[in-house]
Symmetry: C2
Subunit: 180 residues, 2 copies
């Protein structure tokens, strides 16, 4: 599934795409191919798992946040693996842009220091745990939405092979971020 | 307040400090000097406002997430400014480290691409809105905790001057991240 994101981002970066409208965080009627996963209602309000940054060689940067529904978060906090049925993890991906406002503040105490913030939304991905329905793919159903629309079948065929490399962690790449 | 964080991070980076224990997200009895702000219970579970990345020239990197309590999130979503009394914003700061796991997956479709994840917790900062109590500082009380302990008075004296540069945004630097 990660591979899908990278492709979309690469295309976006190369084409100079600078605006994606919002998927609004509410339920979409359109389901991902293969898995039939729709956008879960209210996912934008779920609890935070962790954040990440991605540097695409020569192609751009991303800031990312992973959030989980109540079942997923309970499993994260209690260290339960595999994740129980009903767990859903969402990964929100944004472009990364410099923040002139922040840099102006930072430059006094720390010359040459730079701050980066979210630019625009790129895509959102979901993993839905249903050990019976998705038995052939580690118990997970996958979905990748750009601008509220699911990617095509070919795109979704790459999800599981990529996540298979995290088989020892129930196919999930992201760890829970400890509290500072 | 940002200046404080930078100082702490700089000290941590220079001294090679590699471990901070958790503040646990539950209420601490210790309050910040000047403002008397304690760690709000359960803040780690609050809704996500946005994420950021910080590059300190020659000194290290941070990944950051801002979360808000219900009052703050309602104001963010409805565009209410100034924030109403009772709004609390928390900023969690972590070190940033490369992810070999992710890079191994990424390297096939995108050679030279790199992924970064959270290393260890650095500090957490809070802004608490009380327009009467904190009238002298834009209606905000500030707090900076490292390892569950508030920083000293000198540290907290730098909070407001820094945030004053964002006076036109009710002294808050972070915007709400639109849904991908």
């Amino acid at each position: 599934m990660k591979r899908i994101t990278f492709s979309l981002v690469a295309i976006g970066a190369l084409a100079g795409v600078a605006a994606f409208t919002s998927a609004s965080g509410s339920a979409s009627k359109e389901a991902s191919p293969i898995y039939g996963v729709t956008i879960p209602s209210g996912y934008r309000d779920w609890q935070l798992i962790a954040v990440k940054q991605l540097h695409f060689a020569g192609m751009g940067e991303q800031l990312r946040a992973q959030v989980g529904n109540d079942i997923a978060m309970k499993a994260y906090k209690e260290g339960t693996r595999p994740f129980p049925d009903g767990a859903i993890i969402a990964a929100m991906h944004w472009t990364r842009v410099p923040s002139e406002d922040n840099d102006n503040v930072l430059d006094v105490p720390f010359p040459g220091t730079h701050s980066f913030v979210i630019g625009f939304p790129v895509n959102v991905q979901f993993m839905v745990k249903d050990s019976e329905k998705y038995a052939a793919t580690g118990g997970w159903g996958f979905a990748d939405f750009t601008n509220g629309k699911p990617g095509d079948k070919a795109l979704h065929e790459t999800c599981f092979p990529c996540h298979q490399t995290a088989k020892d962690r129930d196919f999930v790449f992201t760890d829970y971020a400890a509290t500072p």
